[in-house]
């Protein structure tokens, strides 16, 4: 058994620490050690994006990062998106525009879209499709997911005014 490492991370604004085996994947740390099960394991092969979280603000596939690599860094998961019980405009958008059917890909979709809107608050349809191109949905054909992101972008633009 390899030497365990002590890591400290900030997850959804809260400081967490743990002893982890170096081979522990970030997604398993999030789900099993922190018991934040909103982040899903889909393909487990760096394809589907269901496990997407923000690492220092950038979306990454948490099945393809070791937890030990997150030491000293900030993680945001789907649980950290709503604000004091109020849904994030993206969450509202997925609800209003029927942006999901089974919902398995949704947390990853929202995290990718979250990073997209932070970087580019007024994306074109093409930019939205490009922004979520690392997230697979097997139910919807993406149409309503794109609408959900557009809904959120519009809401966020309105609330800024």
């Amino acid at each position: 058994m390899a030497t365990k490492k002590h890591i400290r991370v900030k997850v959804n604004g809260r400081d967490r620490e743990a002893e982890v085996e170096p081979r522990l994947l970030l997604v398993h740390f999030i789900r099993e050690v922190l018991t934040l099960t909103g982040t899903h394991v889909g393909c487990d092969t760096t394809n589907c994006g269901a496990c997407t979280v923000l690492l220092d603000g950038r979306p990454v596939k948490s099945c393809t990062v070791f937890a030990v690599q997150a030491d000293g860094r900030e993680i945001r998961t789907i649980e950290g998106v709503a604000n004091n019980g109020k849904l994030h405009p993206l969450q509202e958008g997925f609800k209003e525009e029927h942006g999901l059917q089974c919902g398995f890909c949704t947390p990853g979709m929202i995290m990718s879209a979250c990073a997209l809107l932070e970087k580019n608050p007024h994306p074109s349809e093409q930019e939205i499709r490009w922004g979520i191109s690392g997230n697979l949905c097997r139910c919807t054909g993406y149409q309503n997911i794109v609408k959900a992101v557009q809904y959120a972008a519009n809401q966020m633009a309105l609330s800024e005014k």
């Binding site: 092969t45 394809n47 994006g49 393809t64 990062v65 030990v68 922004g131 191109s133 690392g134």
Partner: protein, 289 residues
């Protein structure tokens, strides 16, 4: 899928990383972006006993022009290349390449150095670096060594890097005026490896005569391929469609693809011909714009 157990090190300096490589011998592996290594460890194609994570070596992340070269730090992320104003304004061939690698999440972690050092003929930067005539800087115990990229790829997953060396920089001679390049990739879907990829870089004189041509091919052999016959053919020729077509035929002859789930070898050869044409046409357009 859980990788085999390993000891983890996160050195703060390059020399510390090199010392760790020497201490731990063949069982040690450098972890850069990890977007190829970690998947290989999960399916246990790779089982390193010691992981030396170089992600804290922030001084290996840069894109700059200096001393006649474009210099890219080995740990520069694909997403950083995409965002770089220097790359966006002066090196569209590198932007073409970076933007087509995997998907946004992978590009946030994946590094240019890793894309080359992994030695996978399906990776995209090798063809572009072959077309650009790049050099690889390998840093080891006795200092830096320069390896021309044309001699870097030895066979599948095998490069000229020696044990104890780290790919620290990629150096590209700044192309003279009248130069342009482009990378074309045929993929089944976003995020897939190339069925075929072609990089082309040309330098034209004021009358449209080709002074230098570089052509690199992705995923059509055991290594990335430099289409040297097509390059030699174009040198000294006026770049018109007829010469481009002939160069594309020669490049297709230099490809050595195998049939696999991305298509039969014959199809891939045809696609090398077609993509070489398109890449050369776009490279010429960019050379004169």
């Amino acid at each position: 899928m859980i990788p085999q157990s390993f000891e983890y090190f996160s050195p703060a300096t390059i020399s510390e990383a090199i010392t760790l490589l020497h201490e731990h011998g063949d069982g040690a592996k450098i972890l850069s972006g990890g977007q190829s290594l970690i998947p290989m460890m999960k399916i246990r194609l790779a089982r390193p006993e010691f992981i030396i994570d170089i992600n804290r070596l922030a001084d290996l992340q840069y894109v700059k022009e200096e001393g006649g070269f474009l210099k890219i730090g080995g740990l520069t992320r694909e997403a950083d290349l995409e965002a770089s104003n220097l790359i966006r304004s002066k090196y569209p061939i590198i932007l073409d390449t970076a933007a087509l690698i995997a998907d946004p999440q992978v590009r946030n972690l994946a590094t240019v150095g890793g894309n080359l050092a992994h030695g996978d003929p399906a990776n995209d930067h090798p063809a572009t670096m072959l077309a650009l005539g790049a050099e690889i800087i390998a840093t080891g115990r006795s200092g830096e060594r320069t390896i021309p990229v044309s001699g870097f790829f030895l066979s599948v997953f095998t490069t000229a890097l020696e044990h104890g060396e780290i790919l620290t920089e990629i150096r590209i001679p700044i192309p003279p005026s009248g130069s342009g390049g482009a990378y074309f990739k045929l993929e089944r879907k976003v995020g897939d490896f190339a069925t075929v990829g072609v990089a082309a870089q040309v330098t034209l004189d004021g009358t449209g005569v080709c002074q230098r041509a570089g052509i690199g091919l992705t995923n059509v052999g055991a290594t990335p391929i430099k289409a040297t016959r097509a390059e030699a053919f174009l040198t000294g020729k006026t770049m018109d469609q007829q010469q481009i077509n002939q160069a594309a035929r020669l490049a297709a002859e230099e490809a050595q693809p195998s049939s696999d789930l991305r298509g039969p070898a014959e199809y891939k050869v045809s696609m090398v011909r077609e993509l070489t044409k398109r890449a050369l046409v776009r490279a010429c357009e960019r050379a004169v714009s």
